[in-house]
């Protein structure tokens, strides 16, 4: 019984983290058709910015602990905004209209460059921002003790998902974005400023990536290479859910999160295969992912 409860709790926590990581990726793909390999680097940049800012805040003992949560989010917003604008305006803008696969490779080059840039800026020594994590304490459920920070991540993740959904479905900008997703050429013909939409989308995507990193930073040791590890995970979640679908990313994250937690508790030897197993299974039956749209074939 305890372990079933543990599977549910661990699974939801992991799923909420996966969703945070995957949301930015799927938004960018949905609108811009760019499968962004550098998304993991945005995650790492967010983690580094947040960890260095929060670390600085506590080392100098400036003020109360709750401000550090604002700093986490603030660092992610700022880092995501700066990096997103620079990359979209400085690089990607020159590349639009190229083959989808070529765009993947361009972002792969970007990943290589960003990895070393981070090393130049932050060095290779670990950064910590554990105060926000330990500050919230923990909840005991029998033998199981759960970190409140992790639990609150589930809520934060849900809120971010809802806000994204609201943005897309309930605002004017969202409507325009959906028009771009459905048919870029018609949208342009209707007078939509697609270039501006692309900038907005890309910046939202980078901010989401950075936010995922910033919110994870307190629970981990921020070291080189953390970005690389999340790329394939995020890809898998997005492909399972259907590329470009926010709801799909949420369901994909839940599916992977719960399967993984179940594997850890009941069959640890299969843990390594869970994510690829789930992905192969889903794609075998739903070749476009769970919520992917089947594209009409061009003649």
């Amino acid at each position: 019984m305890t372990s079933l409860l543990a599977v549910l709790i661990d699974g939801s926590i992991y799923a909420s983290w996966l969703f945070l990581v995957a949301a930015g990726l799927t938004v960018i793909y949905g609108v811009m058709r760019i499968l962004n390999m550098a998304h993991g680097s945005f995650y790492a940049i967010g983690a580094y910015s947040a960890a260095s800012l929060v670390g600085w805040y506590f080392n100098n003992g400036i003020g109360p602990a709750w401000i550090s949560y604002l700093l986490l989010v603030g660092a992610a917003l700022l880092a995501g905004l700066i990096v997103g604008v620079i990359i979209e305006r400085g690089l990607l803008r020159l590349m639009y209209g190229r083959d989808e696969i070529l765009m993947v490779i361009i972002t792969y080059a970007l990943l290589l460059i960003l990895e070393d840039t981070m090393k130049i800026v932050w060095g290779v020594n670990p950064y910590f921002a554990y105060q926000p994590y330990s500050e919230l304490g923990r909840t005991s459920l029998g033998l199981l003790k759960v970190s409140n920070y992790d639990l609150s991540l589930v809520g934060v993740s849900a809120v971010i998902g809802l806000v994204l959904w609201g943005l897309l479905e309930r605002t004017n900008t969202g409507k325009v974005l959906r028009a771009v997703i459905h048919d870029r050429e018609i949208a342009v013909a209707m007078g939509v400023n697609v270039r501006l939409m692309f900038t907005i989308t890309f910046v939202i995507g980078t901010i989401l990536g950075a936010l995922a990193g910033a919110l994870t930073a307190p629970a981990i040791s921020v070291v080189p290479g953390i970005g690389i590890e999340v790329i394939v995970l995020a890809f898998a979640v997005v492909v399972i859910g259907g590329l470009g679908s926010i709801g799909g990313a949420a369901v994909g994250a839940l599916l992977v999160g719960l399967s993984r937690a179940a594997a850890v508790h009941y069959a640890p030897e299969f843990e390594l295969f869970v994510i690829y197993g789930v992905m192969s299974l889903v794609l075998a039956f739903r070749p476009e992912g769970l919520f992917g749209r089947t594209l009409a074939r061009k003649i």
């Binding site: 190229r98 792969y108 075998a284 476009e288």
Partner: protein
């Protein structure tokens, strides 16, 4: 059998390479051996790119080739290099025939991700196999060729180099003929518009299937040669970053010519080696800028340097 000019020049360059091997220092022979072996894997990637599919999991067959050669010597007493390499290709073909049934139903990013998933599953299986050394892998040694055992050191290095060049030549000629033949041209048509090919009464799916299986065999050959040259195999061969490197090299060279992957692989190795030596802390950045530079200035790869010259001559 008649050879066209490209084939004759390929053979000439191959012979020049073998001769060059006898006068060049050991590190350079090794670099070229690995570069040519990897170029074979890249040929597999390029074959699929021509028909519009990008494999993010070509490391799967690279790894199968390498491990078959290693395990053949270690556990099954197959010490003959040629036999082991052929066995690796056969295993790869068998695996590809099964996976291909599923994979050829997918296009674009779904093909890429699914091929990546299979490669990562092999990685996982190998990591879980302590008998095969898990992530540390194991060494490959004591191989022979037609019953002759090279006495270690330089002699075995030259042997692998020559073997790699000859294998590269053979594969290059075959691929050259394949792309020039009707079926190879249809591959490009599939990339351009699959539905139209179907209307012509051909089955793109079985075409892609055949392409996938042959690409697997070529890649496995590259993996086997790498194993012989380095004397070591490990699961990293199937890791997704390895497959990423193959795509990197493929785009560096471009799809323009069968020789492009070989040249690109050599350039890649040289750039990386010198970047590591000169800027050990930021060599990845150098690679990134190189890739971006090629994409921006040479969108059709390094080969366009040569073909552009040709266009100039014609004008």
């Amino acid at each position: 059998m008649r050879f066209d000019k490209t084939e004759i020049s390929l053979a000439a360059v191959a012979i020049a390479c073998v001769l060059f091997g006898f006068v060049s220092p050991g590190w350079l022979i090794f670099l070229l051996t690995i570069a040519f072996a990897k170029a074979l894997v890249v040929q597999g990637v390029v074959m699929q790119m021509r028909s519009g599919l990008v494999s993010f999991g070509q490391g799967l067959f690279y790894c199968i080739g390498g491990y078959t050669v290693g395990m053949g010597g270690q556990f099954f007493g197959i010490h003959d290099a040629i036999a082991a390499l052929s066995l690796g290709m056969l295993v790869a073909i068998a695996v590809a025939m099964v996976l291909g049934l599923l994979l050829t139903r997918y296009r674009d990013i779904f093909f890429a991700m699914l091929s990546l998933a299979f490669s990562m599953i092999l990685f996982g299986i190998l990591v879980k196999s302590p008998g095969l050394g898990s992530t540390d892998g194991f060494n490959v040694h004591n191989w022979t060729i037609f019953g002759w055992a090279p006495d270690g050191g330089e002699s075995s290095q030259h042997t692998v180099f020559t073997l790699t060049v000859l294998a590269g030549l053979m594969i290059a000629v075959l691929i050259h003929r394949y792309t020039k033949a009707g079926i190879g041209v249809i591959c490009e048509a599939v990339r351009e518009n699959e539905v139209r090919v179907e209307y012509l009464g051909l089955s793109p799916r079985w075409l892609l299937y055949g392409n996938y299986v042959s690409a697997a065999a070529v890649s496995a050959l590259g993996g086997g040669l790498t194993a012989l040259a380095t004397g070591h195999v490990d699961p990293e061969m199937a890791y997704w970053t390895t497959s990423g490197e193959f795509i990197f090299i493929a785009l560096l060279g471009g799809l323009g010519h069968v020789a492009a992957p070989f040249i690109a692989a050599v350039v890649f190795s040289v750039v990386r080696t010198y970047a590591i030596e000169l800027v050990p802390h930021t060599w990845q950045m150098i690679l990134g800028f190189t890739l971006l530079g090629v994409i921006v200035f040479l969108p059709k790869g390094l080969w366009s340097l040569v073909s552009r010259k040709k266009a100039g001559e014609r004008a």
